[in-house]
């Protein structure tokens, strides 16, 4: 089964996605998307790794591409948290230069497809960042549009789309209405 979990900041989407992934298979792979770009990030990454180890997840670091996770043995459940980081890292280089959003979109759609074929179950944590309309900074808008477009493409092909609202999972597609 392939599930896209979305929600606003602090909505409880990661906690729900972890519960869901843990319920699907005993073999659990976690795809972390934070870029390790300093001491603070490194510390956070180490803390998250040990938290997830307790939950039985093996962590694969994929800050800007899912390719590394697609060759990880190919069974059990894979959890990606989250697409917002992945999209930002894929779109913007560390020096701030921006890639072509259309190219990044097609690449990520292909990688999500490959990831889905590598595991029995896929759970992706997405972001809902378009609820504030357009931003003043055009580069921010490119990121918001790319996330929106990626969400639409993934939702169209996945079995389930769940919007977490105040911690409550609401099925937008599939599952129990």
């Amino acid at each position: 089964m392939r599930t896209l979990v979305v929600g606003g900041s602090g909505s409880g989407k990661s906690a729900y996605a972890e519960r869901l992934a843990a319920s699907l298979a005993p073999r659990r792979t976690y795809v972390a998307t934070m870029r390790n770009d300093g001491a603070e990030a490194g510390k956070r990454i180490r803390r998250h790794r040990s938290q997830r180890a307790e939950l039985g997840f093996i962590t694969v670091e994929c800050p800007d591409s899912l390719v590394a996770a697609c060759h990880d043995g190919g069974s059990g459940v894979v959890l990606v948290d989250d697409l917002g980081n992945l999209v930002a890292n894929a779109l913007f280089a560390p020096d701030g230069t921006m890639a072509d959003p259309a190219v990044v979109l097609e690449r990520l759609v292909g990688e999500v497809e490959a990831l889905g074929q590598s595991y029995d179950h896929t759970v992706l944590v997405g972001n809902e960042v378009g609820g504030e309309g357009a931003y003043r900074l055009e580069s921010t808008n490119e990121w918001v549009r790319l996330i929106g477009a990626l969400n639409c493409r993934i939702a169209a092909s996945f079995d389930e789309v769940v919007e977490v609202v105040a911690g409550v999972p609401c099925h937008v597609k599939g599952g129990v209405a």
Binding site: G130, G131, G133, R145, G148, A149, C152, V172
Partner: protein, 117 residues
């Protein structure tokens, strides 16, 4: 009228295309004679619509508006007034609409369904 709301890049126009309208039938201005009005939020940049313009908008087959009020209340008073106006205008149109659809990840979720036409 069907009111279609959703965040930026949530799939509103793709949904309108799925209803059988092409891009030529989508306009952004009052009185342009097109069956579909898109980006209602931009039409509200200069303040509220007068009664005639509002009447024109609510006579369309489909109206699309970006949800803009889900984040932080802006510091800028003009921005603040605008997003408030967008929300109030959508609420007024939703009261008139026979159906209100909110797009989530390209999937239409039904907020209001007034039943058969």
């Amino acid at each position: 009228m069907v009111l279609v709301i959703g965040g930026l890049a949530s799939g509103k126009r793709s949904y309108v295309r799925s209803l059988g309208y092409d891009d030529e039938q989508m306009g952004t201005r009052a009185y342009d004679g097109k069956p579909v009005l898109v980006a209602l939020e931009e039409l509200l940049r200069d303040g509220p619509l007068d009664d005639a313009a509002l009447q024109d908008v609510s006579s369309r087959a489909v109206v699309c508006c970006c949800e803009v009020g889900m984040g932080v209340v802006p510091m800028d008073p003009k921005e603040r007034a605008w997003r408030e106006l967008v929300g109030r205008t959508c609420a007024a149109l939703a009261a008139e609409a026979k159906r209100v659809v909110r797009m989530v990840c390209g999937i239409p979720t039904i907020v209001k369904d007034g039943g058969a036409e």
